[in-house]
Subunit: 285 residues, 2 copies
């Protein structure tokens, strides 16, 4: 019988720590850490995400501004806005909500964000630091959330075999780097992997991040493993993970549910990155 | 009974291809691709490496200049020399021979090399490109040599399980990225890995790059595996790899010897990177 890892609760715990650290920051420097989110267009899902980020900031004492730009915003106008926020010393974190409308080149635009304010950890500069083993760079929020879940649950990482399914720049690869920094043995699998089950069965820590509901079944998981489900796919209006929860939960595993597992951690890590960016910027002054 | 992978021969083959491509380049653009190597100090091993690189350039039609600087060279003087070579349009590749004397900060100095001329692939900019899955960036020479060996030997990489022992920025990590680009399932092990043998036994392609003679024994290798030995340690005046060659060779494996395996490929890939850098620079003009 499995044991549920309650991501909501861990997230609540960390947000309360962030709230305390934010209060201390504001006390010390006389201003709040502040996040600026740029939202281009009218995508309903993006609007909800941005609104949730805004609320989470306010709940933890972090200042938040949301800059809404029209669907047909020109590239140069968006870039000028980013440059303005880079220069604005009251803004500590900048996030461009993705996806952007099709006429805008996401990769190019992200690179205009000052790496010190890049709280999504998506610039080449921050990814290079992470790849090079830097342990206090701004790392992408979701993989950072996975690490925090493992740590808060007291799951040993060092020396253990972590198997990641998925090699995206948003989750798979940065998570591999973060796990290597924690001294795990790390395997990255993907759509081309032959006999995926044979590999996942060797995992002490199994993380799936591909968005294929039911991909990981009971027979793909070792007894005693920790299973972290990063996948989120909407099926018939319900959110489903990559892991066939019901069958895997029959085993002796610790497992994150979907929803209520990794999901709540992503915004929490955005708050953490914003606070960390603010602290780094103040130390540099 | 094993089968030896003859790195010397593969290297010879590739150098002959490079020679042809270099001749075509020189024909087309009216000048040779050119490598500049900076050697600081009197380290005897470094002197031999630099001399070998110089000879290899000349043998393949690549221009080569060696800049020797005294042991006590100041940082600013070295950086000014790099800047001068960055500006020099007749120089296509720049390499600072490592290790540098202790008073010089290698990481800092390397960053002054124009990434387009960084034929060792060591700048943050090039490592970020590699990590982000760019397939035509300048990648570090030794891991690139490993990939070329596998390709020239006709060893299937896509879908196969590659296990790397060692996570250095010179070999382990860039090799993981190159193998992911080739669609291998990739595992990175290191000194903290628990039960290393259990992991290496799952490898279709096993690469060891740690510098511990005899680390990989027959029982750590699966029948049918390809074993690439990147380790080189001098023991009683003899070069030894990480793999216990004699016992592993008894099995049904393909294996690179030390010396004569990966070693010869490193300089060959430096030639390849120099030629590639020159071609990219000409295309940009």
């Amino acid at each position: 019988m499995g044991q549920i890892i309650d991501g909501k609760n861990i997230s609540k715990l960390i947000r309360s720590e962030i709230k305390d650290r934010t209060a201390a920051f504001t006390d010390r420097y006389g201003h709040e850490p502040k996040l600026a989110v740029i939202l281009v267009g009218e995508d309903p899902a993006s609007k909800i995400y941005v609104s949730n980020k805004h609320k989470a900031c306010l709940q933890t004492g972090i200042g938040s501004i949301v800059i809404e730009m029209s669907e047909d915003t020109e590239e140069t106008v968006l870039i000028d806005k980013i440059k303005e926020l880079n220069e604005d010393s009251t803004v500590n974190g900048i996030l461009v909500q993705l996806p952007l409308p099709k006429h805008l080149n996401e990769k190019k635009i992200i690179e205009y964000i000052d790496p010190r304010k890049d709280v999504d950890g998506l610039t080449l500069a921050n990814s290079a630091l992470l790849y090079n083993g830097n342990t206090d760079c701004l790392a992408p929020c979701t993989p950072r959330g996975v690490i925090e879940i493992l740590k808060k649950e007291g799951i040993k990482i060092s020396g253990k075999h972590a198997v990641i399914v998925g090699r995206s720049m948003l989750v798979g690869k940065p998570l591999a780097m973060l796990l290597l920094n924690e001294n795990a043995t790390v395997t990255v699998c993907h759509s081309r992997t032959e006999d995926l089950g044979a590999v996942t069965r060797t995992a002490d820590i199994l993380i799936s991040a591909v968005g294929r509901p039911g991909l990981v079944k009971a027979e793909d998981v070792k007894d005693g493993a920790t299973v972290i489900d990063v996948g989120t796919t909407r099926v018939d209006g319900k959110l489903r993970g990559d892991v066939d929860f019901d069958s895997v939960f029959e085993k002796d595993v610790r497992i994150t549910p979907v929803p209520g597992g990794v999901g709540p951690m992503t915004i929490t890590m955005l708050l953490m990155n914003t606070l960390q960016a603010a602290e780094m910027q103040e130390e540099e002054r």
